[in-house]
Amino acid sequence: MVLKAEQFQIIGAECKKHPNNCVSHAKHCSKQKKDMPYKSMIVLGILLISCLMAEIIMTHDPKFMDLANTNIAPNKEFYFGTDAMGRDLFSMIWYGGRISLFIGIFATLISTSIGVIYGTISAFACRKLDDFLMRFTEIILSIPSILLILFLQGIIGQATPISIAIVIGITRWIPIAKIVRSEVKQLKNMDYVLASKIAGGSFFHILKKHLLPNFMPSIMFMVVTDIGTAIGIESTLSFLGLGLPLDVISWGSMLSLAKEAVLSNHWWVMAIPGMFLVITLICMTHIGHHIQNINNKRCSHL
């Protein structure tokens, strides 16, 4: 006999199935679920497309140093003004956005892969190895990540977008690894994992087919917010003069001239790249929070 979904009956009062059971809260419950972060998604989409099409939008050559026009306030020719080296900020924003976004995505890819693999190994390991692996992460966590990044950047040498992305990636996997570990610890005793193991499934096969789809929702919000964080770290490093050099244009390296500019009242050098950076980060955080809230839809008893 083939069982169909209609033949099953829901037992107990789950409020999302039975809105009558909690009338006063039903509104919030359904609202939380439907409320997609459309605004953030649209803004991010526009930014992404504009950065990819930088060549069409740009009005000047972003790398050209026009020494006759340094520190010009925003006007009709230079929409966003020029910096201390006479480069047009409007063109630089779109051109540099590519590198910033690339660093964010690439760094997150690295940190997520390391985190997932490390966490899974730790969860499957015997207690001693697990203890050791977790203690190791605690030691790494005890160095402020900005110091760690500084070290690694020093070892790799001259900063390029790829090297910065790698350095940021390999210093930011620990929170993901910890969540993955605790998730996998619960999942690994499931029958289907055992069955897959008996059938001869390899470590990566089980990880990909059985574990990843299950714990992906719980790390997804970290992955999205991590993209934003990585972009923020890159700009912080470049601002402090330890990241990308001035001639590699990114939002961060545009901001490395910002402190001098602010002290001499040229606000636009600080404000405009910063606005773009901040808007991107806010959208990322917003989407991340939304993903986190999807997992938490039950009604309040309060």
Partner: protein, 327 residues
């Protein structure tokens, strides 16, 4: 705690510090960049190759790394952490000049951040999904996603450059080290940046933890028993999330220290952060070692304290290994 436990904790602490020191030592030595440059500055270019060799030998930079480490740790146990290449003074002396500044900034920031975060989280949960909650969530998302250095720049622009009411750098006016007013004036901007950039991150975690908590069955029971909202939240829910909050406080010490370090660098606030950036930039090994070890020790000790406090707060953790997790 029994004496045996104390010994165990002490051993754990020493091993961690030992491993940390080896890691930092190797990482520092393997990094390219010339420590001689830190020692002699621009004078290095005027030195002959021969003299440079001599200087290297004198500073012990030519020997294999493990040998250098052995020498370092032997001296360190006696309390001699070597000289800073850059300041030509004992490392401990340079640090003792400035560590109070970091302690004031970081400590005040830490207490205020976590105090406010708890209050804000509770306030939000009383008005869950109401107007106040949503507005606070929006504002919080904005302030917590802005990188601290940019908030600093913004505040410098508004308060130091435009309004000219607050200083943009330093920890006190030159020569007025003990002037409390001057210190407070210099502290306002860095402190507000520190709080602004970290507050919501923790408040949001409190809010989420509480919002999970109020969906538990015991809340429904307390409610039907006739307890007021306040009594349920303050009497039951808070107590349940406290262990998480305490371990989060411990873990985030390195987070907040890192934030303090960046903020110190932006505001040129003389403290451990400014020192560590300088020493990493100029490969001032001895300085970097001590700074990282101090930071590490603070974090490890606070982790252990948190475990102890948690066992007091939550009886369920007493038999188990009190494992610290991020969430």
């Amino acid at each position: 705690m029994k004496p045996k436990k104390w010994i165990q904790k002490g051993l754990q602490f020493i091993t961690t510090m030992f491993i940390l020191s080896i890691l930092v030592f190797y990482m520092g030595r393997l990094a390219p960049g010339d420590p001689l440059r830190a020692y002699y500055g621009d004078g290095l270019q005027r030195m002959s190759t021969e003299k440079q060799e001599q200087a290297r030998n004198r500073l012990g930079l030519e020997e294999p790394i493990y040998h250098q480490y052995m020498i370092w740790i032997e001296k360190a146990i006696e309390g001699d952490f070597g000289k800073s290449f850059k300041y030509k003074e004992d490392v401990t002396e340079v640090i003792s000049d400035v560590y109070m500044n970091t302690l004031i900034l970081g400590g005040t920031g830490f207490i205020l951040t976590f105090g406010f975060a708890l209050l804000l989280g509770i306030y939000c949960i009383f008005h869950e999904n109401g107007l106040a909650d949503r507005v606070l969530c929006k504002i919080g998302t904005v302030t917590s996603s802005i990188p601290p250095f940019w908030i600093s720049l913004l505040l410098i622009f508004v308060f130091s450059v435009s309004l000219r009411i607050l200083p943009s750098s330093g920890a006190y006016k030159i020569g007025q080290k003990t002037n409390l007013f001057s210190r407070a004036q210099h502290l306002i901007l860095p402190l507000s940046v520190l709080i602004l950039s970290h507050l919501w991150y923790f408040a949001y975690i409190v809010r989420n933890k509480l919002s999970e908590e109020i969906r538990q069955e015991y809340v429904r029971i307390s409610k039907s028993k006739g307890l007021s909202k306040r009594k349920i939240v303050y009497g039951h829910c808070i107590r349940n999330i406290m262990p998480t909050y305490v371990s989060m406080m411990a873990i985030s010490i390195s987070h907040i220290l890192g934030g303090t370090y960046v903020i110190e660098t932006v505001f040129s606030y003389p403290g451990l952060g400014l020192l560590s950036f300088e020493s990493a930039k100029y490969h001032d090994y001895n300085m970097l070692m001590v700074l990282t070890l101090i930071t590490g020790a603070v974090v490890v000790i606070s982790n252990m304290l948190a475990q102890g406090i948690n066992k007091k707060l939550d009886p369920r953790l007493r038999d188990d290994r009190g494992e610290i997790t991020w969430f």
